[in-house]
C-alpha cells in the first residue's frame, strides 16, 4: 500500500550530509547538537547531532522509546534549549534570540502537532485553527479566516467548524491541529507522534493530510513515528540510536522492522 506514496519520494534529491548541492533552502540545521538533562543523575540524551532539513521535505524520525526523539523535536522548534551545539532555524542561530524573539519564531516559522491534540476546549474548531493567528495578531482578518476555512474544508472539517474539541473524534481533532499548525504559514511543522493516539485508519487519514499539505504548500515536515508504514512513506527516515542520529535507507528500515517484528513474534 505504500507504493502510491513512494512514487513521490525524493530521497536522492536531498542526500543527507554536507555535500548536499540542492538549491532548496535549508529550514533547520543543527551542528553538534547536544542535550543532557541535568538532575540527581545527569541523563545525556543527544551526543552531537548534525541534521539538515530542507524546504518541501517530509522527514520521519524513528527510534526506540526514550531514545530522545521528542527531545530533539522540541529543540528543533525552539521550545527547549540544547546544552551544546547550534540550532539554526531559517538561518538564525536561536541561541542569539531572547524570549520574545523565540516566541515570534515559534509563531512565524514553526508549527507543532502533538500526540494528544491539545486543542483548547474553550474554543470551537475554527477558533482553535485560527489560534496562532489570534495569538500573533489579536484577531484574524477576513483573508486569514478564509484561508483557514479553506484548509478546514480540505481536511474534511467543513461541517465541524463550530464544534468544540470534545464534540469531535480524535481524528477530527488531529486534523484540526494540522490546520492550526499551518495557520501562520510556517516553514516547518514538527509532529510528535501525530497518529499515536489514533486507530490505524484515522492515523492513515491524518498522515495523508499532512503529506498533502506538505506537497501543496512546500512546508517541511519532521514527524516522529512508531508506525513503520508511515515512516516508509516519508521522503527520508532518520534513526536516533544511542544518542546519535543517522539516515537509514528504506531497505535498511524494512529489514530492521522485520527483524524487530520477528523478535517480538518469538
Amino acid at each position: 500500500m505504500n507504493s502510491g506514496n513512494d512514487e513521490a519520494i525524493t530521497v536522492d534529491k536531498f542526500p543527507f550530509g554536507e555535500n548536499s548541492n540542492s538549491a532548496t533552502p535549508l529550514v533547520v540545521e543543527t551542528r553538534g547538537l547536544k542535550k543532557t538533562y541535568f538532575g540527581k543523575v545527569d541523563v545525556p540524551v543527544l551526543h552531537g547531532l548534525n541534521i539538515r532539513i530542507h524546504a518541501r521535505e517530509f522527514v520521519a524520525v524513528i527510534g526506540q522509546s526514550g531514545s530522545g526523539k521528542s527531545t530533539l523535536l522540541n529543540i528543533l522548534g525552539a521550545l527547549d534549549v540544547p546544552t551544546g551545539g547550534t540550532v539554526l532555524i531559517n538561518g538564525t542561530d536561536i541561541s542569539t534570540l531572547d524570549e520574545d524573539e523565540l516566541a515570534r519564531l515559534r509563531s512565524d516559522d514553526v508549527g507543532f502537532i502533538f500526540q494528544a491534540h491539545y486543542l483548547l476546549n474553550e474554543f470551537t474548531c475554527l477558533e482553535n485553527a485560527l489560534m496562532p493567528i489570534t495569538i500573533r495578531h489579536g484577531e484574524a482578518n477576513e483573508e486569514q479566516t478564509n484561508r483557514v476555512l479553506h484548509l478546514l474544508n480540505r481536511v474534511g472539517l467543513g461541517d465541524q467548524i463550530n464544534k468544540h474539541p470534545d464534540e469531535m473524534s480524535g481524528g477530527q481533532n488531529q486534523r484540526c491541529a494540522i490546520v492550526r499548525s499551518l495557520a501562520n504559514a510556517p516553514k516547518i511543522i514538527l509532529a510528535d507522534e501525530p497518529t499515536g493516539n489514533l486507530d490505524s485508519r484515522s492515523g492513515e487519514e491524518v498522515f495523508a493530510m499532512m503529506r498533502e499539505m506538505n506537497r501543496e504548500s512546500g512546508v517541511a515536515f519532521v514527524m516522529i513515528t512508531h508506525d513503520d508504514r508511515l515512516a516508509n512513506a516519508a521522503d527520508r527516515i532518520l534513526l536516533i540510536e544511542d544518542g546519535n542520529i543517522r539516515e537509514i535507507s528504506k531497505e535498511e528500515h524494512r529489514r530492521e522492522a522485520l527483524r524487530i517484528s520477528k523478535q517480538s513474534g518469538d
Binding site: D100, A103, F114, E122, P132, H137, G138, R180
Partner: protein, 421 residues
Amino acid sequence: MKSLFGIFISALVPKKFRFEFQLALRHLLSGGSQTLLTISAVGAGVIIVIFITSLIFGLEEMMTNLLTESIPHVVVQVKDPKPDGLQDAENPVSNKIEQQTSQLKFIDNGEQVVRTIRGLPNVRGVTSVVSGQGFASKGANPVGVAVIGAEPELLDEITPVTKDLVEGKYRGLGSDEIVIDTELAKDLNVNVGDRIHLTSSSGQADSFSIKGIYDRGQGRGSAYVTLRNGQSLFGLGTSINVIYIKIYDIYDVEDLSNTIMTLTPYEAKPWTKDFSRFLTNIRMMEASAYLISIFSLIASAFAIASVLVVSVLQKSAQIGILKSMGARQQQILTVFIFEGLGVAILGSALGALIGMTIVYLISLLKRSDAVIGGEPASLFPVKILPVYIGAAILAAIISTVIAAVLPARRAAKLNPVDVMR
C-alpha cells in the same frame, strides 16, 4: 458569522489584547462554579467592608451629632482656684469666704472677650451666658434646676432649644419669661402660660411666665431665661460668668481652647475633656472598622489566589501549547491578570450592589421606642459613604489583581516542554 458579542469585543478591546481578553473570558465562562466561587469571595469581601464601614461611621456620626449638637464645643469660665494648693495653705480663711460668697465667678470684660473669640479661626458662634443653680417652685415644693440666661437667638445657634420645643416658643423670650423642660413641667404640674417662682443659689428670686416647654429626651434639662434676667437672678450686674463657643471642625477643638487660654486669663474647656471616653470609643470603632475591612479583603484575596493557583495548574498543558504556538510570557501573564480583573470587577460590583441594598434595608428599620411627635429614630444609624464604597471596590480590585499576579507569573514562566509531556 460574527456574534453580537464579538462586535462588542471588537469595539471595546484593543486588537492588541483581543487574544488575551478572549482567552480570559473563555476561562471564566468555562470555569463555572470555580468562577462563581471567586466572584462570591470578592463580593463577600466588599459586602463586609460596606456593611461595617457604613454601620460604624453611621454610629459615629450619630453619637457625635448627639453629643455636639446640643452642647457648646468650648466653654470659657473663670479658672477654678481650687487646684491651686499654695494659695489654699497661705490664706485658707479668705479662700473659704470667697468660695461661699461668689459661687459664680464672673467674667467682667465679657463683651471684649466675646469679640476676641469671634475673630479666631474655626469659630462658628459665640454667646455670653449666665449659668447657675436655683430652685423652681409653684406653690409648695421647690425643685432644683440649672438656670441658663442667654439671648435666645444666639443660644439657639449653640445649644439649640427651639428645635426641641414641644409647646410654646423660645425665640423672642421676653423679660420675666422662661422656657423649661417637660420633666420640670411635670414635677411642678405646670403648662405654657403658667407662672413659676425661681430662687437662685445666690438668693435672688423672681417670678416667670412659662413661654415654652422642650424635650430632649435626655433627662432633666435646664431652664432658660434671658441674659438680663439671669444677670439679675445671680446678682452679676452687667457681667457674665460663662461664654459658649460653637466651632466648625469639632475635632480641632484643642487648638482653639489653647489659643483662648493664651489670649485671655480664663479657662477654655474643650468638649473633648468631658467626653474623652467617648472619643476613645470612636477611635477604637474606626480602627476596628478599618481592621475588619482589611482582613476581609485579605481573606478574599487569599481565596482568589488559591483558586487561581489551582486554575493555573489545571491549565498548564494549555499554557504549554499556547507557548508552542508563539504566545509570549507577557501574553500569558495578561490572560491571568485579565481573569483576576474580571473576577474583581464582577465581584465588587455585585458586592457593592448587595452591600448597599443591605445597608439601605437596615436603614429602614425604625426603633419601636421612638419619641412621640419626633421622627422615629433608625434602629441602626447607618451611613452610606460613596467614598468608602469606591475605596472598597478599588481595594477589592487591587487585592484581587495582586492575588492573580502571583499564579499568573508562575503560569507565564512555565516551560512548555515540562508541561506537555
